[in-house]
């Protein structure tokens, strides 16, 4: 079984981004970039499926600038077999990315596609579900457990009230939540080995996909700042403030 893992290069989760002075976006110059945390969990899950003998090949793919090769190499160091970069300098919306991934799915014919549920930059939480619509595959989003059994995959999903389990026909789409697994660290020998693994670069044009969008960003602003509060000395003072000043209890 072949597993395809789409990943994204994003700002490192520890970085607190700042909005540019001209309100055109956030300032990403000289900011540390990384593999999106949910994508890291997706790679880990695919690699574990391979280690269990369920998967035969793990292919990672990203849509992004040539700098995203760095994140593909990270995924290869974590155990993926080969990588594909769909090179696009434009900042693409989820639908365009899903269309490009759909073209890659048609070419690669994976039985399972595992993606992160959300990228921590745009916070959209869309691509996996959109890919589900375009491929016509069933989707198991926000997965905390994935069990492949025969021609089905059982996915336990984190939902608002607790957990839900669904059985999906393969091929299927899975998007990862935080509790699915704890990703490993890449070892130095694996980082060296990853440099020699195949990495193909293709263009959106070669895939015959139009990446036009119906949404444009007019401006990006900093959120309203909270006024600094005060430190209280005791629980009694806290209760007094909540009752008489804030009037919330």
């Amino acid at each position: 079984m072949k597993v395809l893992v789409p990943v994204k290069r994003v700002v490192d989760f520890n970085v607190k981004v700042r909005v540019k002075a001209d309100n055109s976006g956030v300032d990403l110059a000289n900011v540390k970039m990384a593999l999106n945390p949910f994508c890291e969990i997706a790679v880990e899950e695919a690699v574990r499926l391979k280690e269990k003998g369920t998967a035969t090949e793990v292919v990672v793919v990203t849509v992004g600038s040539s700098a995203a090769q760095e994140q593909l190499r990270t995924a290869l160091a974590l155990g993926a077999d080969r990588a594909i970069l769909v090179e696009s300098a434009d900042e693409l919306n989820s639908l365009a990315v899903a269309k490009l991934l759909n073209a890659v799915v048609e070419k690669e014919q994976p039985q399972l596609v595992i993606l992160g549920k959300q990228a921590i930059d745009s916070d959209n939480n869309q691509t996996g579900q959109m890919l589900g619509a375009l491929t016509g595959y069933a989707q198991g989003t926000f997965a905390s457990k994935v069990i492949v059994a025969g021609d089905k995959v059982n996915v336990t999903r984190e939902i608002d009230g607790g957990l839900q389990t669904v059985a999906l026909n393969l091929p299927a789409i899975v998007t990862t939540d935080l509790r699915l697994n704890e990703p490993r660290y890449a070892s130095l020998p694996n980082i060296m080995k990853a440099k020699k693994k195949p990495l193909d670069v293709i263009t959106p044009d070669a895939l015959g996909v139009s990446t036009a969008s119906t949404v444009k960003t007019l401006k990006v602003e900093a959120p309203a700042a909270r006024q600094a509060g005060i430190k209280v000395k005791s629980v009694a003072e806290l209760v007094e403030k909540l009752k008489n000043e804030a009037k919330v209890i």
Binding site: Q129, E158, I159, N169, D177, T217, A246, I249
Partner: protein
Amino acid sequence: MAILVVAEHTNAALAAATLNTVTAAQKIGGDIHVLVAGAGAGAAAEAAAKIAGVSKVLVADNAAYAHQLPENVAPLIAELGKGYSHVLAAATSNGKNILPRVAALLDVDQISEIIAVESADTFKRPIYAGNAIATVQSSAAVKVITVRTTGFDVAAAEGGSASIEAVGTITNAGKSAFVGEELAKSDRPELTAAKIVVSGGRGMQNGDNFKHLYSLADKLGAGVGASRAAVDAGFVPNDMQVGQTGKIVAPQLYIAVGISGAIQHLAGMKDSKVIVAINKDEEAPIFQVADYGLVADLFEAVPELEGLV
């Protein structure tokens, strides 16, 4: 121009999130129709018909829609959605699961988690864990949008008298099946609707210690949440997580106990009206957003607080 609001419901009852979504639809302006897709969802449909400002309720009642499987529900919404200017759903786990699939079927982009309506085609939404707010404009024929419920007040649940119309279309893709669910049972208010939320973090040390928070919450009539650290450590279940990728809450009072305040957690609660932080580390970043900070051992402070409120 008419707007289709996809109802969030349990078949037996309409969820409050639907009321916030109707308010967002009212801000956009136009005729508001509500779709209730479910199985045995008559009660939810009747509740939807009573929401002030709703003119029509569409009911798609079929076993295929019982568990909101996106493979079955998304084609239904997309088919109906073609006749509307906007399709809205609450950004709940259910709305997030289904609506992007609808958008792709309609070949339009989706706008996720709007917090404000600027005009019928322009919306505000948080990005980068709420560290930036983007204003986005859509030229799509059908604007597919999820609504962050904390950004909009609830619409009046009574006062409307919409017509109820059955939808004939049944879409059953036959690609997925519901196996089971484990839902947390709690008498406490639901996190996203609670007026007061008490949350615990890594400082709680273990799941058993959350009993201090449950006891305080019961005295205050509050919901109980947790930071990602507490959920990952297995102290409490995932549905209690407050944060960038968990639940987004904005209660009147948020009490953060033993939570350091990572930006991902702040993204889920910093729109609360009043924030209280109790932490023994006076350098904890949570104090930077807290209206009232108390540097103390939580195991002494929480029982004392419970005694005084």
